[in-house]
């Protein structure tokens, strides 16, 4: 099957860019995948990231960046099709399966991911993680939310405030 022509003017092999994480690890990735990030897209359109240069990402460590790129690579073909109006149901189901599994990870990775998605302006990834965290919050009392999301024990001051809230909004704490 012939590779579809990429829109960036390079015929044949897809254009590659290099991203450099905060701990100086270099990632080579297709420009189309990296362009899921609105921030990177501008740099890439300006011709950045090619050759030996690389785009430094001082706010994203290598573990998070590799996870971010895993998401981008998987979602790049659908994104290139403009939200995939002609994608088959099978393709869509496959992406959904991928997304569900993708966010089935440690909380610290989730939080790193959403911060990176926010920094790099990857809307799909940001909402995917936000939805996952929202799902962890719903149906729980404030104390259960604290436990689920790994809050430290409340300070005496916080506990006093919670007790006062409990008097007023008792239903929320049941």
């Amino acid at each position: 099957m012939a590779a579809p022509e990429s829109g960036d003017g390079n015929n044949g092999a897809a254009r590659m860019v290099t991203l450099i994480s905060s701990d100086n690890t270099r990632f080579e990735v297709e420009a189309a995948a990296a362009s899921l990030s609105q921030t990177l897209q501008l740099t890439i359109l300006d011709g950045g990231g090619g050759g030996g240069d690389g785009i430094p990402l001082p706010n994203v460590d290598s573990a998070t960046l590799s996870k971010v790129l895993e998401y981008c690579i998987k979602h790049a073909p659908a994104a290139a099709n403009g939200g995939a109006p002609n994608a088959t149901a099978v393709d869509r189901a496959e992406l959904e399966r991928f997304d569900n599994e993708f966010v089935n990870i440690d909380q610290s990775v989730l939080y790193s991911l959403i911060m990176a998605a926010h920094n790099l302006e990857i809307e799909g990834l940001q909402s995917l993680v936000a939805k996952k965290v929202a799902d962890m919050i719903k149906g729980k009392s404030p104390m259960e939310i604290r436990r689920t999301l790994g809050f430290p024990d409340p300070t005496p001051e916080e506990q006093a405030e919670m007790n006062a809230h409990m008097l007023e909004y008792g239903w929320a704490y049941e």
Binding site: D23, Y111, S127, A130, V133, K140, S141, P142, E161, A164
Partner: protein, 426 residues
């Protein structure tokens, strides 16, 4: 975005090193609010916001987040309050409003119903009051009640079923409210008004009227006093009945509305200026088979929603051909097909719709049958004015005044208000 720590007070959380895993505290206020937009309902948001001071502050200090959240998740209906069919002014005949809940599957909405005082037990405990209460208004999570005992001191009660021990009692009117009347003076049920600037401040308005004039009496929460407005001649044709204004109790955006008994006039009070105005209603609303209510098309837009049989329509304030602003019909439709899709053969038992209330872009309707020999209880349902979607609620006799109860934003989440106001925000 260099420092993603929320502005917390506890110093240990501020020193995050690369070796320490990212925690929920690492997320900025912006990201916390982004996550909150995916919460399914206001009930979940309230519980989430009560998790810690930083989260509550994030919600309370961002009007744009609250606006967006409201657009995505309209405030959920928790149920309908039905006044007792008759309230007898006698301590031997108890009368309390009945609350009928809407059965949501959402756990947080179920928690609101389970943990709140919809049985109004807090007022039943009061030693000096007859067990004889009727709701006169319901706004922003508060219900305003009036005791049937004419002799009672402070017979008005204001309470929020979600807030424990928050009930307040006060007088039901100014002693000179009727002064200067002509003919026979009458009064209408009290209306509850909240200030948009400060959700802790409210007013209660009672309309007094005589043969041809109206006057507003107003209770203010800030000084606990009733004040009296001047008599205003509303210059209508002489009325055959001395009770010529209906107890309609409708409100949009600081305007209060009452309908005349003959369905010919709408009396409006602008509570910002305290000025009354009167206008004639369109001819087709005077039909005895027509049921209508003034209410909120959206938050700030008043509309009249009417139903005749299964035909419904909407009137908005528009400039007419002659340059005068009037209630003009902008939309009408026969709902029979859509009703059949929702109610199937059950619909065959009914022949008309009654408009119960129009609030927050939703119309509350009751499927009814007039001139029936056997009493068939009504089916209550909502119609979303934005999407046109119908939602069945429950079946019950429509035998008294009904007030939808919608979950309201607590004052401590809409700014720096109430007991939990932060001193450091000043």
């Amino acid at each position: 975005m260099e420092d993603n720590n929320p502005p917390t007070q506890s110093p240990p959380r501020k020193h995050r090193k690369a070796s320490i895993p990212t925690t929920i505290y690492s997320l900025s206020e912006d990201l916390i609010l982004t996550i909150f937009l995916y919460l399914p309902s206001l009930a979940t948001l309230i519980r989430a916001a009560l998790t810690c001071r930083e989260w509550r502050h994030a919600v309370a200090s961002s009007p744009s987040f609250r606006r967006l959240f409201c657009e995505l998740h309209p405030a959920p209906l928790l149920g309908l309050f039905f006044n007792a069919p008759t309230v007898v002014e006698n301590p031997d005949f108890p009368a309390f409003p009945n609350f009928v809940p809407v059965r949501h599957r959402d756990r947080d909405l179920a928690a609101v119903l389970r943990g709140s005082d919809f049985f109004l037990t807090s007022i039943q405990e009061h030693p000096d009051k007859f067990h004889c209460w009727g709701i006169t208004d319901c706004r922003r999570g508060y219900i305003l009640l009036h005791n049937g005992d004419m002799e009672a001191s402070r017979p008005m009660a204001l309470l929020n079923p979600l807030v424990r021990r928050g009930e307040r009692f006060f007088d039901d009117g100014h002693e000179n409210a009727y002064e200067g009347y002509v003919g026979c003076p009458m009064e209408r049920d009290t209306c509850l008004l909240f200030s948009d600037d400060n959700p802790m401040v409210y007013k209660v308005v009672r309309l007094i009227y005589d043969a041809s004039r109206v006057r507003a009496t107003v209770y203010s929460s800030h000084n606990n006093k009733w004040s009296i407005g001047p008599w205003v001649d509303v210059s209508m044709q002489p009325q055959s009945s001395r009770m010529w204004i209906l107890n309609s109790n409708m409100q949009v955006n600081g305007f209060l509305y009452w309908v005349s008994r003959n369905f010919k006039y709408l009396v409006t009070l602008d509570t910002a200026t305290m000025k009354f105005s009167v206008e004639e209603l369109p001819e087709f609303l005077k039909n005895q088979h027509c049921s209508f209510k003034v209410g909120e098309m959206s938050r700030d837009t008043p509309c009249i929603f009417y139903a005749t049989g299964f035909k419904v329509g909407i009137l908005l304030r528009k400039i007419d051909n002659d340059g005068v602003e009037r209630w003009l019909r902008v939309w009408r439709k026969c709902l029979k097909t859509q009703l059949f899709e929702v109610f199937r053969v059950v619909l065959l038992n009914y022949n008309e719709l009654q408009v119960v209330a129009v609030e927050g872009g939703f119309v509350y309707l009751a499927l009814s049958k007039k001139f029936h020999e056997v009493q068939i209880p009504s089916w209550f349902f909502t119609l979303c004015l934005k999407t046109g979607k119908m939602e069945k609620l429950f079946q019950r006799s429509y035998d008294s005044v009904v007030y939808p109860y919608v979950l309201a934003w607590p004052p401590s989440l809409v700014g720096n208000f109430g007991r939990f106001a932060r001193g450091d925000d000043a």
